[in-house]
């Protein structure tokens, strides 16, 4: 970095916008701010849409994932893997087992990303 040459103050690195050196190659990633709840909800609904019940009931926070939708437990776990990568968190399997509603899933993701 050219800080020493220009005499400018060093880059401010805050928890909100942190550049993490992943390894010694020029492979850096930018950790995003914790996502907004609406963003997480929208993504979960998008992922669950293909499993929506025939009666056309909309997916809401209160939707019970394993009951109100036609999704089996394996597909739930696969969806969780996609959400994990989207929001850069890992949800342990025993935690997934305790999640019943869309709201609970969103809250888990938000809690984990806040702790990041």
């Amino acid at each position: 970095m050219s800080d020493t040459h220009t005499g400018e103050p060093p880059l401010l690195r805050t928890a909100q916008n942190m550049i993490v050196e992943n390894d010694d190659i020029a492979d850096t990633i930018v950790l995003r701010r914790p996502p907004a709840r609406a963003e997480v909800m929208a993504e979960i609904c998008r992922q669950l849409e293909p499993f929506q019940a025939d009666d056309g009931r909309a997916i809401t926070g209160a939707t019970v994932i394993s009951k109100d939708l036609s999704i089996d437990s394996l597909a739930v776990m696969d969806m969780v893997m996609d959400l994990e990568d989207q929001f850069d968190v890992s949800i342990p399997m025993n935690v997934v087992a305790e999640i019943h509603t869309v709201d609970e899933l969103a809250d888990t993701i938000l809690a984990l990303s806040a702790r990041r």
Binding site: D72, L74, A75, M77, M81, D88, V89, S90, M93, N94
Partner: protein
């Protein structure tokens, strides 16, 4: 709520299956004739779904060794090794398997299922992390239920997905154990092990690999993917089974860890079940000698794999991603798979049918397993029968397509 109400969904699905007239989960082998033939429904049937990779179930020397052992030491041990003690042959078998891998320690279990269940659930405990491939075998998933470690799944055969999950653990204390399989049991694909090992090294994670379907099949000496990928020393724990290539029953785990033997008094699936009977130990020891002495069996197996895989691919079947002793044939849905399976059986060919929820990504498959004991004629018969039924059921077009699906890695 009745005890069985929770299974209502499965009962419905099972009823659908039985309506086709045959129940794939209650098939009866009326008489087994050889590693590749049995009488089913009164008819001589070609077996292409028995994991009998080297065809050793009827090897005369293995059978003689088992018979002799029964005469010498009886039919069973009637207890576990920590309660009733080990027979000299248990210890000899463990030494021979350890030597086979060039590892210091080996523990033998009564099944491969129990080896995975016990070793994986015991190696990691509270505050540790267990990372498993999403397509892991049921025995690995069951270990996850038994362990007190935190369990995270990564995407099947995807080292970057594992990398992301190890990275997210950050500097949390606790051991990391990564579980992989040499060859996956449904689609016959192998793990990109070298790449996985590189990720594990980067994060200081231990590696356990299940070579259930790759023992004998992969590597210059048949040790499995750990050998063919050249990373034997980087695999801290190797698990395997006697129930496939070695033609008997039982499981094992080998390791160089100096404290490995403590597992003998901490692993419940080792401590609280009877040990292998003398006949099994004797036939497995002989089968292992055959694996070492007859590398041509491996060559024959892969020749048969190539013939079956390429033959089916040329007809237009959609197969697993690469050559493997397991050849998974994709079918559009559960009922087609079951109808196809039934038609194959009526035509005298037995394969496995695998449908959700036992399959990855909800796919429906006919799962074929190839043996070194299959003749060229038998493989040709298998392709003919499958192609005929594929056309009849509209799974294939009416003219063969010369299209090769997938490639071998």
């Amino acid at each position: 709520m009745g005890l069985f109400d929770r299974h209502a969904g499965l009962l419905d699905a099972y009823r659908d299956v039985r309506m086709t007239g045959a129940d794939p989960f209650q098939i009866r082998m009326e008489r087994v004739l050889s590693p590749t033939e049995a009488i089913i429904n009164g008819k001589k049937t070609l077996l292409v779904g028995t994991n009998n990779y080297f065809g050793l179930t009827f090897d005369p020397s293995c059978m003689e060794a088992a018979i002799e052992a029964i005469r010498a030491e009886g039919t069973g041990t009637t207890g576990s090794r920590i309660a009733n003690g080990s027979y000299s042959e248990h210890v000899a078998l463990e030494q021979e398997i350890a030597e086979f891998y060039g590892k210091k320690h080996c523990m033998v279990f009564t099944t491969g299922y129990q080896a995975n269940l016990g070793v994986i659930s015991t190696l990691v405990g509270p505050d540790d992390f267990l990372l498993i491939d999403a397509d892991s075998h049921a025995s690995i998933y069951d270990a996850c239920k038994q362990t007190q470690a935190e369990v995270v799944r990564f995407k099947h055969n995807d080292p970057s997905s594992l990398d992301a999950r190890l990275r997210r653990l950050g500097d949390k204390p606790g051991n990391r154990l990564v579980v992989l399989e040499g060859i996956y049991s449904m689609l016959g694909d192998s793990a990109p092990l070298k790449e996985f090992i590189a990720v594990c090294k980067k994060y200081n994670a231990y590696v356990l690999i299940d070579e259930a379907h790759s023992l004998g099949a992969l590597g210059e000496h048949g040790r499995g993917l750990c050998e063919s990928a050249g990373v034997l020393d980087d695999c801290h724990f190797i698990v395997g089974t006697f129930s496939k290539t070695l033609g008997a029953i039982g499981g094992y785990c080998v390791s160089d860890d100096p404290d490995f033997d403590i597992l003998r008094v901490t692993t419940r699936s080792y401590m609280f079940t009877a040990s292998l009977p003398p006949s099994i130990v004797a036939s497995v020891r002989q089968a292992l000698r055959i694996v070492k002495a007859h590398p041509e069996l491996r060559t024959k197996l892969w020749d048969n794999v190539a013939a079956l895989y390429d033959g089916l691919a040329a007809q237009g079947f959609k197969l697993g991603p690469e050559h493997g002793p397991v050849v998974g044939v994709h079918l559009p849905d559960r009922m087609t798979a079951i109808g196809f399976w039934r038609a194959m059986l009526d035509a005298g060919v037995y394969v496995n049918v695998a449908v959700p929820p036992a399959t990855p990504n909800g796919v429906s498959l006919l799962r074929c397993s190839v043996s070194a004991a299959h003749s060229h004629e038998q493989i040709a018969q298998m392709i003919d029968v499958m192609t005929g039924i594929g056309r009849q059921l509209g799974v294939l077009g009416n003219t063969p397509k010369l299209r090769v699906v997938g490639s071998s890695r």
